[in-house]
């Protein structure tokens, strides 16, 4: 079939700027073919090349004694001792989920699971951080229901427990929801697989599902802003098949045991193109592909379509040719496609043959190595104006307002649609704070959390960036885990606007500082830019996914508050109300600065809690809604009332950082006070648990009444 002529319109439709096209002409010394144009577009879009963010991402701390593999591979790898490692990453599927919520979210889950098992790890936990528009926006209900069903539909069938996440609502996401999917797996440290090809003349093998036309151009779509043509973009969304993914998982893990795999890479964004180029580039080899051998499920597919298809559940592997028969037998057993589609070659060349024709012949290194990199102009976010007076509120009325909001109501409606117990190693279910999963067959456990407070990041990207990491740190410490490492999913608007670029730069600076101070290096991540609709950007949302290790399940802090326990506040309270949940939900005010984060204090308080975990019956971190919401959530989980002595608004609802609420028996509390004095850590008794009422200062309500609101408000708003 004849390929279209290259025209200015065609170049623009591929998301390539005129200067970028000039660069292509310089690199190859001639006009590209249509297929070649598609390949460049796929490799150079923001989603695959990180061209706007790369410069700043390099400043992040990525190393540490615990790190086996940092960013650059399919997922990060961190040592958990005893010859095992945790492999994890978070990735966005924002644009596809807005266009087609069920399949967009489902394939987001599928993609992140593949990133993990490509490396030889069996997925053991998933999380999802979701941001939607205003609850009353006409599209929100459809998106929430579709996204949640899609995540469940994929993860439940695949068989990975979903142990945590976040759901938030803000009008800034009206035209652009965020779906950030996290997955973690466990591998033996001597059986980790990487993507770098090695050896010349080695067979390149296509594994998994057949290639169709779904998702052609998806990565380029994901790097564009939305406008009113969005409905036309639906065909760029892929369709997921979790049953095939489950078989692909089992077949790959079996295959990896045989020694047949030299290197392996999943086909994600820009499918065959991106995976083949990445394997060749990392191995300093060229790749030749013969597209006539690619298993297809549609007739008359062109080279262009095959190279850019984002059909799901596919892998590319460089095979040890001596074990071809064994390898093929495993894929036959699981009824999956196994086809040798090419070979590694010595010269730096990406050669695509189809129907006895050369469809592309490009210098391979240049496709990834010379991708444009921009130092986009940026302006620092202006300092927030000081917060005007906040009137005193009735603390129970304010608490009632918070738990009535789908932002702070229980997310049970969401996580009950996810299988959070499959694999029978879930020890702490989703709901509050970190989820905990036992390392199968051992007494160790891993804790998982995902956190960010976008309204803080908007007010102050540096402190907001720090806060996201600090909150993740606290959620891990609150279950008794030692924070190990972090993955970041940076969701921002159009980086070509200096103020948006300033948000990105500031957030990265804050995240970097916090990850260094708290010894939680970034080992993997993803950047999602152009999250704008008709020029309106989302709230800057750098989602932090973090993993912690619990040496023995007996060391977990996983209890609930008991009748008579003292409520003890660990950390300093100033009463910071700027950008607080109270201000937003009760007063509809979005003012003031984000709370400052004292990283040194964060570290000391977290270590103090872990060191003294035997003195603590239950613990939770303080974040949105401050002491009042934390105390209520702890009481509600335990089914006992709580009394907080001080009902002053700033005391009850201030969002000062570095704080935890602990439940301790009287004897434990005494010992804790002594330990705190010795460690010079601020602790104070702020109330007690017991009875069947929630009392804050002079105001009170039945726990059951508030619990009813808390349990039903989410579904009432959006289900």
């Amino acid at each position: 079939m004849d390929e279209p002529q290259i025209t200015e319109d065609l170049i623009a439709a591929h998301g390539l700027k005129p200067d970028e096209y000039q660069r292509i002409l310089e690199i190859i010394g001639r006009e590209p073919s249509f297929t070649e144009l598609g390949i460049f577009s796929a490799m150079w879009n923001e989603h695959c090349s990180y061209k706007s963010s790369k410069h700043w991402l390099r400043t992040l701390p990525t190393d540490g004694p615990q790190v086996i593999c940092g960013p650059g591979e399919n997922a990060g790898i961190v040592d958990i001792g005893d010859g095992q490692a945790v492999v994890f990453k978070m990735e966005s599927h924002n644009h596809p989920s807005y266009i087609e919520p069920y399949q967009g979210a489902a394939t987001g889950v599928g993609g992140i699971l593949r990133d993990v098992f490509t490396m030889g790890a069996r997925p053991v936990a998933a999380m999802n951080s979701l941001s939607f528009g205003a609850p009353d926006h006409p599209r929100t209900r459809t998106l929430v229901n579709g996204v949640v069903a899609g995540i469940g539909g994929y993860g439940n069938c695949f068989g990975v427990p979903n142990v945590g996440g976040e759901v938030r609502f803000d009008p800034a996401y009206n035209g652009n929801c965020l779906v950030n999917a996290f997955a973690a797996g466990i591998a033996d440290t001597d059986k980790i697989f990487y993507s770098a090809a090695s050896g010349v003349g080695m067979p390149v093998v296509y594994l998994g599902a057949k290639t169709g036309r779904d998702g052609v151009g998806g990565a380029t779509m994901a790097s564009a802003e939305f406008d009113d043509t969005i409905e036309e973009k639906r065909p760029t969304v892929q369709v997921g098949d979790p049953f095939t993914e489950k078989r692909l998982l089992e077949a790959c893990l079996e295959l990896m045991q045989t020694g047949a795999v030299i290197s392996i890479q999943d086909m994600g964004a820009a499918g065959l193109t991106c995976s083949a180029v990445e394997m060749g580039d990392k191995g300093d080899l060229g790749v030749k592909l013969e597209l006539d051998r690619v298993p297809v499920r549609e007739d008359h597919m062109t080279a262009y379509e095959m190279m850019l298809s984002e059909s799901q559940e596919r892998m590319l592997m460089v095979l040890n040719p001596e074990l071809e028969a064994e390898a093929k037998a495993i894929f036959d057993k699981w009824d999956l496609d196994f086809a040798i589609v090419g070979e590694t070659i010595a010269e730096d060349r990406f050669l695509i043959l189809h129907g006895n024709e050369v469809k592309a012949d490009l210098p391979l290194k240049a496709l990834s190595g010379t991708a444009p990199e921009y130092q986009r102009p940026w302006v620092p976010t202006p300092a927030a104006t000081p917060l005007a007076d906040v009137p005193e509120v009735d603390p129970i009325d304010a608490l009632r307002a918070l738990v009535s909001s789908p932002n702070y109501a229980s997310k049970q409606w969401v996580w009950e649609q996810y299988d959070h117990m499959v694999m029978a190693d879930t020890i702490v279910a989703p709901g509050l704070g970190a989820g905990v999963v036992r390392v199968h067959g051992t007494d160790k456990a891993l804790a998982f959390t995902s956190d960010v407070t976008p309204r803080y990041v908007r007010a102050n990207p540096v402190e907001g960036g720090k806060q996201a990491v600090a909150e993740a740190f606290r959620n891990l410490c609150a279950v008794g885990a030692r924070p190990l490492a972090t993955t970041d999913n940076l969701n921002f608007g159009n980086p070509e606007k200096p103020e948006i670029m300033g948000q990105l730069v500031g957030a990265i600076q804050g995240i970097g500082a916090a990850c260094t101070a708290l010894d939680m290096p970034i080992v993997s991540g993803n950047v999602s830019l152009y999250n704008e609709t008709d020029g309106e950007p989302i709230l800057p949302t750098p989602t932090i996914g973090a993993v912690g290790l619990v040496d023995h399940v007996d060391h977990l802090i996983a209890g609930t508050a008991r009748e008579g326990d003292l409520a003890i506040l660990l950390g300093e309270t100033v009463g910071h109300l700027g950008q607080s949940a109270l201000l937003a939900e009760v007063f509809n005010r979005h003012e003031g600065d984000a709370p400052p984060v004292d990283l040194e204090a964060e570290r000391r308080h977290g270590e103090f809690l872990r060191d003294n975990r035997t003195l603590v019956q239950a613990a939770t971190d303080l974040s949105d809604g401050g002491l009042a919401l934390a105390a209520f959530e702890m009481a509600e989980a335990a089914g006992v009332g709580v009394t907080l002595d001080d009902g002053a608004t700033a005391h009850a609802f201030g969002e000062d950082q570095g704080r935890y609420l602990l439940a301790c028996s009287f004897d434990q509390a005494e010992a804790l006070m002594v330990a705190a004095a010795r460690a010079e850590v601020p602790v104070a008794t702020v109330g007690r648990f017991g009875g069947d009422r929630v009392r804050i200062g002079a105001s009170q309500a039945e726990l059951a009444e508030l619990a009813q609101i808390y349990r039903t408000s989410f579904a009432a708003a959006v289900a």
Binding site: G152, N156, E416, M421
Partner: protein, 222 residues
């Protein structure tokens, strides 16, 4: 005591069920769905949860046609004990070993949570570890657990004391709150809740363990 666990390509609770059998003291053998015969000397067979063939059609319908299911039906015919959990229950109804069918949950959503069950009969190897009428906590995790059976079938189940478990608070719309049923010879049990997810303290409770222990006590001569 020798237990077998069937593995379909989309099973995902096969390991969990094997672990629960092993914890109770059984030797466990995994059995691939393409095999056409069972290992000899099995005391009990487990059909685990998951999405056997993706469940894009009626859940369990394709699994029921797999080679191993002919052997499973033969095993039942010879008086073998079979435990089907969740998707396993769906497969057993599709093979005809158990009456009724599992439809989409009445709220149309996947439901994963702990539920309270009432042990409706202790007259089976599976439920011998419980007292009749006991309240136990076991999780459910399914999209299609809404048990349906016609009026005559329901009357028979009741008359023959073949309702094994009922929900204290019906999560999925099942007829008569039914969570699990026994075959006529009381040697095949299908249930939607997952007893294998509740067999040790780390699971938050051990109410499921009594099923596996009771089964072994009942099947292994003292």
């Amino acid at each position: 005591m020798k237990a077998g666990v069937i593995v379909f390509p989309g099973s995902n609770c096969d390991r969990d069920m094997a672990v629960a059998f092993e914890k109770a003291g059984a030797d466990v053998q995994m059995i691939w769905h393409k095999d056409s015969s069972l290992p000899s000397g099995l005391d009990v067979l487990g059909v685990p949860g998951g999405f056997s063939f993706g469940d894009y059609l009626r859940c369990g319908a394709i699994a029921a046609q797999s080679p191993i299911c002919r052997a499973v039906v033969d095993f039942a015919g010879k008086g073998g004990h079979i435990l089907g959990v969740c998707n396993g229950f769906q497969v057993l109804t599709e093979t005809g070993l158990l009456p009724g069918a599992l439809m989409r949950n009445s709220n149309l959503k996947f439901i994963c949570k702990n539920v309270e069950l009432t042990v409706a009969t202790d007259d089976s190897a599976f439920t011998s570890g419980y007292e009749r009428g006991a309240q136990i906590t076991v999780p459910v995790a399914h999209h299609d657990g809404n048990y349906v059976i016609d009026q005559d079938g329901l009357s028979r189940l009741r008359d023959e004391d073949r309702i094994a478990f009922t929900y204290a608070s019906n999560p999925n719309g099942s007829v008569a709150d039914i969570a699990g049923v026994l075959s006529e010879n009381r040697r095949v049990l299908g249930m939607m809740p997952h007893p294998e997810r509740r067999v040790e303290a780390a699971h938050g409770g051990e109410d499921g363990a009594a099923m596996f222990r009771g089964l072994i006590d009942a099947l292994v001569p003292a």
